[in-house]
Chain length 233, copies 4
């Protein structure tokens, strides 16, 4: 294992701890990151809470989301979320699939999730809503095939985030730090927007504010990351 | 004590820890499981938080909810919830009686709890509402007799869950893992539905989605269980 | 110090730990209990979080809320809440004065706090609302004199609880265990009623249900107490 | 380092721990305090969660928010919030800049944050709302220059608090203890007001009550501080 890969896997473990600690992942949901040296591969953990032999639980998957190496592991049946987004979005280096509760209502109601918090400029293009029923009829709601993964990736488009009706959301970033940041703060924006809409008509960030705020926060991603590592690590 | 019984009792302890940790049980409420070898008996713990001599606190009850063995224990006065459901529902192997706060409003208001979260396909048949006053007049609200237990079990019918007006809910499963899973996620569905109904008209799972999602999750119950055991164990 | 007094003071410490742990007390608010041998005296702690020399921080007060013993302690300026209730309500053996957030909205809005949760039969007589401004004009909102304490006690009347507008609430019991139980569950009832009123028209306990449920829970106060002691002790 | 400076820096560390523990600061946001001996200088910490070598992370800034001493530190790009308030408000000895979630909706909706909780008499003059867009057009939402800092300080005026649209709030005090107290309880007031406005028309403190309650609490700031230090320290 090269130094780059080792560092990437360590960051993936830290990302998982942060996302569990911040309530973005529980027993379900997962975070992945693109292989730093073989961009048609990616890494996931087998579980969100690991035991002592944690090192053994990293999974490497190929471009078609098949696990590399000995065949006795059972990768997530929803790994196609990750694989198909990596295929369609070369700019994406990390993917978080979450069931975070505050996001769910925005996936099932006809209300757009929009940025009212300065951390969430990345929401300016909006979060698309992937209603699996529209294109694929009645399913078990999960993204368990190439076809469903491609459909989800198409719904995501060039955006930072796609809400999944009755299920959760998928958030992407150009780094694990960015994907974690976006997951945590999109969830907070959802909470705040819910409250604000009870109080009155919220003022959202305008397009320029969103763009500039996103650029700013993209440059300081180490700050919250270090905070979360110390809090949950 | 056979290996099967020992394993069952250990799982019952783990279930209690999880349910306390996830806010489904506090000092009140209880979880039980059918005896693995004598299906007309079931096990409960005497308390939800145990001391060091934890092993002593398991209670075995017969088909009429009478404690087996030396007569110096005081079983829950609401054990008839469990006993009468086990009698009427041979398919049920575990019962959770909870006072989880997010469920209470759905028991006292004329709003049906329905599945909008893909974890909650088991709610497709709806949660019936047991209003003890309707059939039994003014009571102390608790299910403290065979008659009341039978009445609650009848209200539950073939469903996964019955809400109890002004009191809580009772959730069943074909295993402890399933009953725990359903208790945690039904409570989350209640929270999400409350928020979603403030935002607009939520889209619920349709019948096919609910059925398929429930089948899927039934097959992966180990995953959240292992997560919760590591988190709260 | 007699065995009875010692036991009472230990119970007072446990009550404080429980109330802090359950979010009923923070740096402000206080719990007291009547002296078990001299019913015209009562005990309070000087602080809600104690250091190692905890034993030194118990305060004994006389019928006029004057501290007994060496004069270098500074008792709470709101001790008249306790003293005047003990004077007017010989049946009361414990008093909790709380700022618990979920109770505040019911003190400032014209909406009655009523029992919809079976734990809260003691709310059947309703929680009166003490608006200090009505009788006493503009004050600093605190109950800092005999006169204000008497006025609060009059507003409480024979009830279990009085809400204090813009300030908090005071809850009484015939034991520390009962006063703690009522504080925790009245706060939960407030949370539940707030949610239920958003969903629709809640069904409350009727008079008979409230009375019977209160009698039942009065008889099983050890159960939640032991749970909370293990959780927060 | 004089004894006064040492004590000030220790208090600043404690304030940070309290504000993190109470959810007022996370990886972002910051608290500062005026230099006790050179009133045209102030102290900030470089991070809200420190490692073992914590002592090294204190930053001293001059009247123009330039860091004193060796030039290899990167002070917060929002330090102008602090510097310009200290310049315009000689009475202010401590400043908290927070992103506390419950405050955000009041910055983006046309609803005044007003005191309904007796801890919050300091809100009697209201919290002004600084909408950076009104005077400065499209920005990245942050206060990253002298000009923006001066504008924020002007919006604050003589008040205790200014809400920042889509961003957070800034709270001032005549001591660290007061600024911490106000930050925590203003956040709670926002939560309570949100709930109360759903229930009905809340009664707020009147002007006299607010003034008297604020004077009272100003005199007892040690009490909650000691509580929080024990809880989070």
């Amino acid at each position: 294992m090269s130094i780059d890969v080792k560092r990437t896997v360590e960051e993936l473990r830290a990302a998982t701890q942060i996302l569990v600690g911040e309530g973005i992942l529980d027993g379900f949901g997962h975070v992945s990151t693109r292989h730093p040296e073989q961009p048609d591969r990616y890494f996931m953990l087998l579980r969100n809470v690991d035991g002592p032999a944690a090192e053994a639980r990293v999974l490497e998957l190929d471009a078609d989301s098949n696990p590399i190496g000995p065949g006795d592991v059972r990768p997530s049946i929803e790994r196609f979320i990750h694989g198909e987004i990596y295929r369609q979005r070369p700019d994406v280096l990390a993917v978080v699939h979450t069931h975070a509760p505050p996001l769910i209502p925005f996936g099932v109601c006809n209300v757009a999730l929009r940025p009212l918090y300065h951390m969430c400029g990345f929401l300016e293009d909006g979060a698309s809503v992937f209603d699996i029923r529209k294109e694929h009829g009645t399913t078990n709601m999960l993204v368990t095939s190439y076809e469903l993964g491609q459909s989800l990736a198409a719904s995501l488009g060039r955006r930072a985030m796609v809400l999944m009706r009755g299920h959760g959301a998928t958030v992407v970033g150009t780094s694990l730090k960015e994907a974690v940041f976006r997951s945590v703060y999109a969830t907070l924006n959802a909470q705040l927007q819910t409250v604000a809409m009870q109080l009155g008509q919220p003022t959202f960030l305008n397009t320029g504010e969103a763009k500039l705020a996103d650029e700013l926060h993209h440059a300081v991603l180490d700050r919250p990351w270090e905070y979360w590592v110390k809090k949950h690590g």
